[in-house]
């Protein structure tokens, strides 16, 4: 689960990770008041969407309006809020449609001496969290990782113990951080690592992390993602979820216990199991087609869930055909067959449907489909299924 920058910073403050004073605003009026409350000559108005790259991103139809803007008066703050609120911001991470800005964050300015990058993630290979720090702050860290990975310094830490002081000293030495800033780094980095563990994060990223002219360390950004599997033990974090930031079909699927990801192609897929679902997308592409989604109905899918899955798939106007690929283990082929018949009665299939069933109760499932009046193209194996759906979606069936 992702949260907004302003929410991340509230959590940071409570955890002893230094941030600047700021207020969230949902109207130009509120932005103006926020500027006055801050009482500093300079402030930054930042669009609050879950995607990164906001500083360089701009509003659709108004490229002059950037997502992060420096302001010097309450009037300017209100003007920027006016330009952002309710508009769609396009950044390198949003895709061409952009993401609607529903709130802005008005934050104090500060005198920056140096910008760094700090990120904490889980290192799967080491089976431990790792702190990454780089001198290349404020830029796209993915580019740094690709072009000069040696500039990203790493320190693993045991979640039960946290980051040790000597690890911070090693980092400071390599980064040339001395004096007051080195002292600040010890407290900052330890607090950030503790934050990651205490909140069951899957990502905590601060880019840029700044050193001010008076030697303080401050998180100028906060990108925090939580481990969905651990939300049950964080009742205060769960309500921070912003449903406006999520794809409506993905949300709808999640409500029914389905795993769905919207893609750009034209062949809908309904599969059981994440690995098989990915492999089904692969084989569609191998045979010249483009999947319009990833949909895993899970191991123990029931008829209601699978029917809902069909509704979601068929609501996508780009979907020109559906491939059902089920290897029944716990999920029974008869359940899938029942759902196909139900869905055809309820929503109707305006597009071709290719079905490949295998596994538990396969004979009964195939028979049910044969005896129904649903127009199904059957396939005996994966290759045949992929070839048939690609041809059908292209109108060659």
């Amino acid at each position: 689960m992702k949260i907004h920058e302003y929410q991340g910073k509230e959590l940071f403050r409570a955890a002893g990770v230094p941030v600047l004073q700021g207020f969230v605003a949902r109207s130009p009026q509120e932005a103006s008041e926020a500027f006055d409350k801050l009482g500093s000559p300079l402030a930054v108005v930042k669009a609050q969407i879950h995607a990164g790259g906001r500083g360089k991103g701009s509003v659709i139809d108004n490229p002059a309006q950037k997502g992060v803007v420096l302001v010097r008066s309450s009037k300017e703050a209100a003007g920027v809020a006016e330009g952002l609120l309710g508009k769609k911001l396009v950044t390198i991470q949003t895709g061409s449609e952009g993401q609607t800005v529903n709130q802005v964050f008005v934050e104090q300015g500060c005198a920056i001496a140096r910008e760094l990058y700090l990120g904490i993630v889980l290192d799967r290979a080491a089976a431990m969290p790792v702190l990454m720090v780089s001198s290349e702050g404020g830029v796209e860290i993915e580019k740094v990782a690709e072009e000069s990975p040696e500039l990203i310094l790493k320190e693993h830490f045991d979640p039960a113990v946290g980051l040790e002081s000597f690890q911070v000293r090693k980092l400071c030495k390599k980064l040339g951080i001395e004096g007051a800033a080195a002292k600040a780094a010890d407290s900052f980095m330890k607090a950030a690592c503790r934050f990651f563990v205490d909140h069951d994060c899957s990502l905590a990223e601060i880019n840029p992390l700044v050193i001010t002219e008076d030697g303080k360390m401050i998180a100028l950004d906060a990108k925090v993602t939580f481990d969905d599997n651990a939300l049950f033990r964080h009742p205060t974090i769960k309500p921070l979820r912003d449903l406006n930031e999520e794809d409506p079909n993905e949300l709808r699927a999640a409500d029914s216990g389905l795993s769905y990801v919207q893609l750009e192609g034209n062949i809908g897929c309904l599969v059981n199991g994440a690995g098989l679902a990915m492999a089904t997308m692969d084989i569609i592409k191998y045979h010249g087609g483009q999947p319009s989604n990833f949909l895993d109905v899970g191991g123990g899918a029931n008829t209601a869930q699978v029917t809902e899955a069909f509704r979601i798939l068929l609501s996508d106007p780009n979907c020109k055909g559906v491939l059902v690929n089920i290897f029944g283990g716990i999920a029974r082929c008869t359940t899938i067959a029942t759902a196909i018949i139900e869905a055809s009665k309820e929503v109707g299939f305006q597009v071709p449907l290719v079905v490949r069933l295998e596994g538990t109760e396969v004979k009964e499932g195939r028979k049910m489909l044969e005896e129904s009046d649903v127009n199904v193209i059957t396939a005996a194996d994966l290759t045949e299924a992929a070839e048939k759906i690609v041809a059908a979606a292209a109108g060659k069936a």
Partner: protein, 292 residues
């Protein structure tokens, strides 16, 4: 021979009185697995289908001589259940449960590596030596005793591979679902070493997916230590980047983890990579022909 489990393996179910635990305990017993009891805290002294239920794993081991367990307890309690099994000296621990918090697994991983136990999973279908012992949720009837070892990070994709190898009459020696989570107890490398030593295994099929660097590490291991034929398939060649893996995850591995890089690493190690999931068994046959 086979690896890890056979007809003499004595199996417990932790969470035996829950829906899934009950259903699959019956499924495993019907397959022929020696199910010897179950554990549900607070329900010790009861029985389930004639099997004794215990409050603790320690008691269950003392009373039944169990040396393997399958875990179906809910995700918030799975880490604790695994640690209890390690403490009781269980040799093979299969955690089927999906949705375990990843930091819980950081703790469990260290405990299991410091012990003599082997953890398979979590979020996996389990392990099966066809005709002898099934521990987990896989449909037993698609398997056939035979010579191909299968290990995989995905459940249903494993069934697909099993089905294909059964249809070609090759059969399977032992199939292991490693689990789809970021941190799992057993890696491809752990199993490659065992399959290399196993008399029954004539060829190995490895099913990986995008993310992490387990496949690249396995490729390097195969080059150094495995003389048997190896085939592979990587799922997710067409998955959109950044959708499942948070993008900072890619930073840590230095740009590793894409399907293209994995396939290149595997092929460089002499492994035959199936171009589509429909060709997994054919890739195994090709790998065997290449070596002979």
């Amino acid at each position: 021979m086979s690896i890890l489990v056979d007809r003499n393996t004595r199996v417990l179910c932790q969470g035996i009185t829950g829906n899934a635990g009950a259903f699959h305990t019956r499924g495993c017993r019907d397959y022929g697995t020696q199910m010897v009891g179950g554990v549900t805290p607070g329900k010790g002294g009861q029985s389930f289908d004639g099997l004794p239920v215990f409050d603790t794993v320690e008691e269950a081991v003392a009373q039944t001589g169990a040396d393997a367990t399958m875990i179906f307890v809910p995700a918030p309690f799975t880490a604790d259940a695994i640690l209890e099994a390690i403490d009781a000296g269980i040799r093979v621990i299969c955690a089927i449960t999906e949705g375990v918090p990843v930091l819980d697994m950081v703790r469990v991983y260290r405990a299991v590596k410091a012990s003599d136990s082997i953890l398979i999973g979590p979020n996996c279908p389990g392990i099966i030596t066809p005709g002898q012992c099934k521990i987990g949720i896989m449909p037993g009837y698609i398997h056939q005793p035979g010579k191909i070892a299968i290990m995989s990070r995905s459940g249903t994709l494993t069934y697909e591979a099993v089905w294909q190898t059964s249809n070609l009459g090759l059969g399977q020696s032992t199939c292991v679902g490693l689990g789809g989570d970021p941190i799992v107890g057993t890696s491809f490398i752990d199993l490659l070493a065992r399959f290399q030593e196993d008399d029954q295994t004539e060829a190995i099929l490895m099913i990986g997916e995008i993310g992490g660097s387990a496949e690249e590490e396995a490729a390097a291991f195969v080059q150094e230590h495995v003389t048997k034929p190896v085939a592979a398939f990587i799922a997710g060649r067409t998955a959109p980047p950044g959708k499942r893996m948070g993008h900072a995850g890619a930073i840590i591995s230095g740009g590793k983890g894409t399907a293209g890089e994995k396939v290149a690493a595997l092929e460089a190690a002499g492994i035959v990579v199936a171009p589509t999931p429909a060709k997994m068994a054919e890739a195994v046959v090709q790998a065997m022909q290449k070596k002979s």
